[in-house]
Symmetry: C2
DNA sequence: CAGTGATTTGCTCGCGCGTGCAAGAGTTTT
DNA sequence: AAAACTCTTGCACGCGCGAGCAAATCACTG
């Protein structure tokens, strides 16, 4: 059996059409499509039958306009060189969709300011805007908040000092301390910290935590360098230039990277450009546990954020059932591999 | 100076409010925000002034409902293990946004069928749905077309036999022939083709083209193997199992991969698991020119699709100004590196 | 300054559905 | 069997804006 009334599909079929066919009112039709609506089993079946015949589905645009809830969230991202973003996108879209939210993806790498993008999102009445990029300064966040009708501004996988935003992230301090302890336990004593953009407070968190921890333990502050983007290529170049003309393995015995994207570049530089071995000559650690970190070529010792739990946290924030104390204290897991 | 009337921002400000303040009608207000509307310079300035004071921006939701144009396109993706997707997402979102379209990202890796996702997209009245995943069979496309109100169904970076879809892709046949010629010219004579999911007609195109070309030249048909997803890890495992217990370099001198995602895994397998060198023992070619292909560790000889031109083509399709003959014949560029 | 055409402005009606209430139907209690 | 419920259904009104037309205004010309 094929769908009946196939010819009708060109014109938009509204709840009124279904109502006429099912012999009920339009409101009963729309009730039939609401999960917890007050409607009898009998008329729901009548409606659903008619709806299927006509190929009716509720119009979410009209629904959003009328109810002032769009069931869309806007994801702002500016950091497409970092493979971890693909993982985050996969996880977030899946969890959001499973819970009834659609995802609006906005590329903010072009925008000088995120506020334009946020303004645009607000024009669509998104229920929330989620920042998962890296270049958002707290200042730009502040101005961005000028764009209202964005009910919730959420910073994902990063801490934010801005009191008007909700931050969902793992406990970076605990995580970095765990990495530091691991490194110390392994006997490394001449670390180099490779950081990302200095505008990001996340990296401030990780870098500061590591440097502080090290200082507390050995009373010396390790060297650190940074790159402008979380981009393996930039990390590669930076490592090369940092060690140019020096005997790297005598200066440094481990490179602690702010995340795996940087670690990839660092490892490539160590092996290909400098001709050294990881971890024998110089060890490397990362953060995020991206898929490549587990590949045969890299095998990076890293820290896995509990992305699914964090995505679940985001859903709870959207539902308004979140426990705000827990949102910034997700606990991940150190993944020990061969790179350190 | 900070924004005046800050206190007003909590309530939604509509065109009516602006109209009252500017001393014009509501329709004049909305005209002021339309690029090519018939409105005098003077009243536009009046309106814009009032709008800025009140913090007004047009509501795209209401606009979409009234005009039946949402200015949204839906991107369907199921292939998050392929790093190339991140590049595509970056490019597409940027071009779309620059031309006035917002992007709805739908993760279809969970869905048994894409039609559910398409149905959902249609409920949002997207102007077009763009398939950039890999698992869409032409059969599923056919059933997916049952979900109407999706004005345009576009298959991006892949050919499609379905006449109801618009396919935007580079000329795979020309590209693969170029790769084949390159390989032949380099003197390789024992190729192995590593393909992706057999449901994808794109891979059919590339694989078939290569095998046919080879047969035409040497009257022998090379061996080929395949994996279920464009995932480096799967490619790694497949290559390992394929050569298990055999002296690989005697069987094969080049592995032609359907894309870079597979090439990454293949190279890792050759070097790490089999202890061989690329390209001296076994060469490798890819397709897509993902960022990692250019990294010091891989240096993959590959084929770069003209993504920006293709994204521009998508925009033209949306605008209705596309030259349909050209949509499937974008020409890319062979990028010669050290892997073959 | 009336007359003509070009431009600008206002307006009616509708996009498809949600909210909240009141009327109707169905069920239980005494 | 009437009263007292509960559940279900229908409805007026509104969400914010757009298409298309009619009225109003403007810019010239002779």
């Amino acid at each position: 059996m094929r769908e009946p009334d196939v010819d009708k599909r060109d014109e938009t079929v509204t709840a009124d059409d279904v109502a006429k066919r099912a012999g009920v009112s339009r409101w009963t039709v729309n009730r039939a499509f609401k999960k917890d609506a007050s409607i009898s089993q009998k008329s729901r079946e009548k409606v659903m039958g008619a709806a299927k015949q006509l190929g009716y589905v509720p119009d979410l645009l009209a629904s959003s306009l009328a109810s002032d809830r769009s069931n869309m969230v806007c994801l702002l991202i500016d950091d497409f060189a970092n493979p971890h973003k693909l993982v985050m996108l996969e996880r977030l879209t899946r969890f959001l969709r499973k819970n009834g939210w659609d995802t609006l993806l906005v590329n903010t790498s072009d925008e000088e300011d995120t506020s334009a993008a946020l303004l645009n999102a607000s024009q669509r009445r998104v229920d929330a805007a989620v920042l998962i990029g890296s270049q958002f300064t707290d200042r730009s966040l502040a101005t961005a908040l000028g764009a209202r009708r964005v009910r919730k501004l959420i910073v994902f996988a990063r801490t934010s000092e801005n009191p008007n935003t909700i931050s969902i992230c793992c406990d970076d301090r605990a995580a970095m301390n765990e990495i530091a302890n691991y490194i110390i336990g392994k006997g490394y004593r001449r670390p180099l910290f490779l950081a990302g953009p200095q505008t990001s407070s996340a990296h401030l968190g990780r870098k500061e935590t590591f440097l502080t921890k090290w200082h507390d333990t050995f009373s010396t502050t390790p060297e650190f360098i940074s790159v402008a983007r979380y981009d393996p290529q930039l990390a590669y170049d930076r490592i090369v230039s940092h060690f140019a003309g020096r005997t790297a393995q005598e200066i440094t015995d481990v490179i602690v990277c702010e995340n795996d994207a940087l670690a990839l570049g660092a490892m490539d530089a160590i092996r290909t450009e400098m001709g050294l071995r990881v971890p024998q000559d110089i060890a490397v650690t990362g953060f995020d546990d991206i898929p490549q970190a587990d590949s045969a070529n890299y095998r990076i010792t890293t820290y896995r954020q509990p992305l699914s739990a964090m995505a679940e946290g985001l859903v709870q924030v959207l539902k308004g059932t979140a426990d705000s104390d827990q949102l910034c204290h997700f606990i991940g897991k150190l993944v020990e591999r061969e790179s350190a």
